[in-house]
């Protein structure tokens, strides 16, 4: 895992005190209030909960979805036109730090 990514979207946070797993957008455990956490890689699978297509003049269509990661929290990801709400997808992080959906997981 690349730990230098600023938001670490391919990493989740495991509370060192109560073992609750939470998003890299959050710094304090919602369950116990501890700010002591361990960074660990995500499994890289999630379920698509919402999806939109960005439509702008002179730009190619771009699809963005919110994915519920198997770790139990949500993140936004760039996706493809054949992905639908309810699909289980693989996830990866581009070198720029953006989360993208990859293959559909059967």
């Amino acid at each position: 895992m690349n730990l230098s990514e600023p938001a670490g979207l391919d990493q989740c946070r495991l509370c060192a005190q109560c073992q609750f797993v939470f998003s890299p957008l959050v710094s304090v455990c919602h369950e116990c209030g501890s700010s002591n956490y361990i960074v660990q890689p995500i499994v890289g699978v999630g379920d698509v909960e919402a999806i939109t297509q960005i439509i702008r003049k002179n730009e190619p269509p771009k699809f963005v979805c919110r994915v519920l990661l198997s770790e139990g929290y949500g993140l936004l990801a760039i996706t493809q036109p054949d992905v639908n709400i309810g699909d289980r997808v693989g996830l990866s992080v581009l070198s720029g730090g953006q989360l993208v959906t990859g293959r559909k997981v059967i």
């Binding site: 938001a7 957008l25 939109t52 439509i55 936004l76 730090g97 953006q98």
Partner: protein, 379 residues
């Protein structure tokens, strides 16, 4: 604790207001609101302002106070996105109830249409997204709400036609509302076939970007005639970013229940809701979360006339953000001004039967900040 009343309100015309500034619109609305309350600048001892995208001053409340020759004992600029206006009414009511102030001016104004490039407005608003995890996706505010819309349509029985009915209702209400930004008749087909902004949101599923200003007076004085008592308010802030939003409870229901508890009322007591409606999905999900419609049914109820001015539950009689217009903080405050105008019998041709209690609900960010206020109509 003292009782607290909204004793005056004013709402400028919304739309393209060439030559105006954020400050000029706040001044215009504030002077009119003071006049409606029967007071002058020297009577104001509290000033609350929102923020203005086109007047990004660090101390906007002081700027407004100085411009109006007010020397308040309390001044405060508040920033909670679309929930700012309702939050300011709650704060003003606390200040008055506790005796800190007797008359609080609450105002906001902006010229987002004529005072800023559209691209700059869109980019500034998009900054509510997380800088690392959300903004790089390219989503802007309509994009975030488009995600909400897709989830809503996939998880309820509602259809795009149902959501469009809410936009049609707001336009219908705006047709004879003086000062509305968009007031030409509009049909379901107009909404559904208007240009796509972010799938599945079309242009007329979204509010316009407007210039406009609103001011309210919150006071200890009970008006002589019909007036509006601030009966209770409640807030809830469960997330900032849509990535962290709980689909089942984004805070709307919690804020409403806190407001109802503070006022000692229930949803069944509310005669007229004034609900934030930046997008059709905003209005639908808020109506349903608050308890004014079953899940997935808000649009169908609108289409059936339930929320008409002469319906069982008149909703946003002025046309809401979707048609009266959206000028930032003032956009949400236009609903609050409507509460005063309706309760004091000054709504002219759009006067509705408000019942004893009015409920106003503001939403900031992407369903991030929720503030509800219950008003009691004194007759």
């Amino acid at each position: 604790m003292r009782d607290v009343y909204m004793t005056g309100a004013s709402r400028t015309k919304f739309g393209r207001l060439e030559g105006e500034t954020a400050l000029s619109l706040m001044r215009r609305a504030s002077l009119d609101a003071m006049q409606s309350a029967g007071i002058m600048s020297k009577d104001i001892d509290g000033v609350l302002t929102g923020y203005a995208m086109t007047h990004p001053h660090l101390m906007l409340a002081n700027v407004v106070a100085e411009d109006l020759s007010i020397q308040p004992s309390y001044a405060h600029s508040v920033s909670l996105g679309g929930a700012t206006g309702a939050a300011m009414v709650q704060l003003a009511s606390i200040l008055v109830a506790q005796g800190v102030c007797d008359n609080v001016l609450v105002t906001a104004g902006d010229v987002r249409l004529t005072g800023a490039a559209r691209a700059d407005v869109v980019q500034t608003l998009a900054a509510v997204g997380h800088p690392m995890a959300e903004a790089p996706t390219g989503l802007d505010i309509p994009g975030y709400y488009a995600l909400l819309t897709s989830h809503y349509l996939a998880n309820t029985v509602a259809t795009e036609h149902d959501l469009a009915a809410l936009s049609v209702l707001m336009r219908h209400n705006a047709i004879d509302t003086v000062g509305a930004h968009l007031s030409s008749p509009m049909t379901l087909d107009d909404v559904l076939t208007s240009p796509m902004i972010a799938q599945p949101l079309t242009r007329y599923s979204c509010c316009p970007i407007s210039d406009g200003g609103v001011a309210l007076i919150v006071s200890k004085n009970r008006p002589d005639g019909a007036g509006l008592r601030v009966a209770g308010a409640g807030q809830a802030h469960l997330h900032q970013h849509i990535s962290n939003m709980d689909w089942n409870e984004n805070g709307a229901s919690l804020a409403a229940s806190r407001a109802f508890a503070a006022a000692g009322v229930s949803i069944a007591d509310i005669g007229m809701p004034l609900i934030y409606d930046s997008f059709t999905v905003t209005l639908a999900t808020l109506l349903e979360a608050i308890g004014l419609a079953p899940i997935g049914q808000a649009g169908r109820m609108a289409a059936q006339g339930y929320f008409d001015r002469n319906g069982a539950c008149p909703l946003n009689p002025h046309g809401g953000l979707l048609s009266y217009g959206h000028s930032g903080v003032a956009g949400g405050m236009a609903h609050l001004a409507e509460a005063y105008l309706q309760a004091s019998g000054k709504a002219k041709g759009r006067q509705v039967k408000t019942g004893r209690y009015i409920y106003a609900h503001g939403d900031g960010g992407v369903m991030s900040s929720h503030v509800g206020v219950v008003f009691e109509v004194n007759s």
